[in-house]
């Protein structure tokens, strides 16, 4: 699900559980999740370059130097 979809679901669930004070923090978490998902080190199933992270290996990701 997109972050927007997640946030709508989470807010609705928080309100159903009578936790309205949770709505603002969830919005803050959503911003952080957007940032996390936008990072260029994320794996993508249709990306051509293999991304490997192994103990002792140099991790490779798009943009790695």
């Amino acid at each position: 699900m997109t972050v927007g979809e997640w946030l709508e679901w989470a807010k609705a669930d928080a309100l159903k559980r009578e936790l309205p004070d949770l709505v603002a923090p969830l919005a803050g978490l959503a911003q952080a999740t957007e940032r996390l998902r936008a990072a260029d080190w994320n794996d993508d199933a249709d990306h051509a370059t293999p991304v490997v992270l192994g103990h002792g290996e140099s991790p490779q990701w798009r943009g790695a130097k």
């Binding site: 928080a14 990072a39 992270l53 991790p59």
Partner: protein, 447 residues
Amino acid sequence: MTIADAAPRLAKGQLKSEKLTEECLSQIEALNPKLNAFITVTADEALKAARDADKDIAGGRYRGPLHGIPVSLKDLVDLKGIRTTAGSLVRASHVATEDAVVTSRLRDAGAVFVGKTNLHEFAFGTTTEDSGFGKAHHPVDPSRSPGGSSGGSAIAIATGMSLGTVGTDTGGSIRIPAAVCGIVGLKPGWGEISASGVVPLSRQLDHVGPLGACVTDAWIQYNAMLPAGRQTTGVPAAASLKGLRLGVPAGYLFDQLDADVERVVMSTIDTLRRSGAIVTEVAIPHATDMAAIYLHLVLGDAAEYHARTLMSRPQDYTPNVRLRLEMARYVLAEDYVRALRGKAVIAHEVDRAMDGVDALVLPSLAIPAPPIGAVTMPVKGGPEAVRTLMLRCTQPFNLSGHPAISIPCGHAHGGLPIGFQLAGHHGQTPALVQAALAVERAIAHAG
């Protein structure tokens, strides 16, 4: 008095542990009502242990520099027979049946335990404002936070309520209160000091370590916390500043600093440069992703640990911590896994930043002690959330697991302390301490 001062006098019988312990207990009695550094004071047990220490030392059974030294434990760390509350009513009646491993090692070294210090509930915060046992207060300005989550431990050292203390550090919780209270806080490398018998926040990010009045005191305690086979005698010699290679991770970690913090930290770097250190700029390219990575990991881990009690007794958490734990339960597994990958990226980039340098140097904390209740603080670029600012400079080395230490380097307005942070190579905490000793000396001379 420092451990470094007291230890040789105790060893020679010029000072008695009972007297030293009585002085610490008097400080606790005088100051704790105002500062709320301690949740539990173990006065009777401490005095008995102190008298035993004096008897052993007089009988030629001196164990080393911690023998007879009054030490406190952050109330996440088990002390046999004493409650471990984690700063929460959730654990108000929990009594430890065994010492934590770190407690046991300090006990073997002859430490005298004076009590359990206050903390941000379950270590889930950086200000020690949210505790089931009341907020703690800054020793210089009680209207301000002492930092956290090991706030009580930092107050104890800063005010002489104990000469040593054990804290924990998941995103900065040893280094932040050390910086805020003007003392030294050492976060060893991940896994160096056992976390067995310590209430967790995030097991992959939690570190156990000491706070002390000076780098030598931090070393003495750190050494005693190590497994017996890895302990050494004496204190490592300070490194020479001439030719010491220091990397400054410019960019994100220096972008949003209080004006006084920036001025004092840059002045300290300049002092080191003039003393012969070779200072170069280094990069942590994905530093701007660290906050998001850290948040998803710590939330995911905390959600697992608190799942049952959040459902069965939510009212026993402080409101702010409860809210964060409730939020934690909404983190999706796919985002947690993304954050795990990001953690590996940051670890790699910190390693790369350390290529060719002996230590990284940066502020410990972007701001001086915030007022209790503050939501934002003014920094370069405009006001920012306190929570984000408190963790900004310390969390890289929780993600990467490198050892890091905060030492005092000056003061901001109102006499509020500022901390200078050094981070070292994996597995080389002794070398980091040697660099820190040199920097501490240079700061004192520049003083």
